[in-house]
Point group: C2
Chain length 242, copies 2
DNA sequence: TCAAAAGTGTTTAGTATACACCCATGT
DNA sequence: ACATGGGTGTATACTAAACACTTTTGA
């Protein structure tokens, strides 16, 4: 794949970086790729944009590779476009640890020149129902896995900053867009929702009031009870309307 | 300028479109350029990004040309990146009306090829104090002037849609960012602020309550009275703190 | 019957809206 | 003095927060 990069009909110097959020065990997760090179290089799932492709199609393509989900919730949130935003430094480290790369790239260093330039990156965040995700890697990934957002590995470039910016955007959008339900399975309890909100906002809510507030939104449909086997009242299961 | 475009060290297929808002006579204005060609082509002030330039520097450059203001309020709000977003159609109209263009562009139609490709555009909106603006045109503008947002001329490409998206973003940001004061002169009355808000949100507010709400924000500093000569109480003048 | 947790109600506080009143200004 | 519009206070309605009470479940 790398060999073909410069010839692929991509828009030059423009990339798409995806912060894919998941939620499990009351923790917010982010999907991080370990790059398929010697050395511990981690990064957000990224991609380039074909000439015949909308930018959000490109983002969807990046997501589908990694999560297997086609209709994932996706939201453009910021463009990272500093002049100094270059792969140069990272590339040099990479080549130092992967000397064979330089040999393969004989063709006047076409790949190196592709990557070494400045890139403007469009940041997207995605919300995935982790129960539906089937992790899959693209050729560029050695492995790919979920990291707790509080325990992210060091990442290349400004991917850490992009992640933080995505979390801010998610928090900001939540009030209006109710998109958080995309992080939950199809059915869930109010408590699940509350724990999700508490995780995202890193604060607690009063149980009874939270319940009222969420139900007053009139976006949930009660569909049955969840008998856990525990010695307490079984909570109702809800589904997101429409 | 057009002759040099392809050789200029710009990022390819990436542009910056600026929706510059102004406010006067209780009307929200947008700065629109009439392109320097035969035919009535109107568009938002746009530009390309130099390799050594941050994207917001590029936007500032576009703004400074047109408004003369260096420290204008600027906010990135959306990326327009449909694959179908191409100048092609507009270019063909343009060339039909400006046959000399084709002759000038002998060099294997380098300029045509530059422009005819798909462009991804980063939308910025700017808030300008119209009393400080000294309108100036770049080489690409035949003329440039303020249009009432309700009376925009037909514009090329998706510039109309970009403008509407910018207005939405402005409304959305207003609650949190208090950036509306950038549209007013240094000193103003509460009534000025109210009329501005009413214009932006296209609705009315109750005078006394609006006054309280704005003053309770604690961002205004009272500095004197404005004697208008009218037979009524002189309103206080305020200044935005910091 | 008891503990645990869900669901609902009730009280209180805070904020937003509607409206009334007083104040300053120039004719 | 008075018409005009600015500034402030007050009563009301609405919403959010705190907390208490009831219900359900399995041991």
């Amino acid at each position: 794949m790398y060999e073909r990069l410069p010839e692929q009909n991509y828009i030059q110097q423009l990339s798409v970086d995806c912060v894919i959020f998941g939620y499990q065990d009351r923790q917010l997760k982010v999907l991080v790729s370990k790059l398929n090179f010697a050395g511990d290089f981690y990064g957000l799932p990224s991609g380039f944009i074909y000439q015949e492709e909308d930018i959000d199609q490109a983002a969807h393509r990046v997501l589908q590779y990694r999560t297997g989900i086609a209709d994932i919730y996706l939201q453009q949130f910021h463009v990272f476009g500093k002049a100094a935003r270059k792969n140069q430094e990272f590339l040099d480290q990479l080549i130092a640890l992967n000397p064979d790369l330089e040999r393969k790239d004989q063709d006047d260093h076409a790949i190196y020149r592709w990557f070494a330039r400045r890139f403007v990156s469009i940041g997207f965040y995605a919300l995935a129902d982790m129960t539906k995700v089937k992790l899959g890697k693209s050729e560029i990934d050695e492995s790919i896995r979920w990291y707790d957002i509080t325990e992210l590995p060091p990442m290349i470039l400004d991917h850490r900053e992009i992640t933080e910016c995505a979390l801010e955007a998610l928090r900001h959008d939540l009030d209006q867009k109710l998109n958080a339900f995309n992080l939950l399975p199809d059915t869930f309890t109010i408590k699940d929702v509350q724990k999700l909100y508490e995780t995202i906002f890193d604060r607690t809510f009063v149980r009874s009031n939270f319940q009222k507030k969420i139900l007053d939104l009139n976006v949930l449909e009660r569909i049955g009870k969840k008998f856990t086997g525990a010695a307490n009242k079984a909570p109702y299961l809800y589904r997101f309307k429409q």
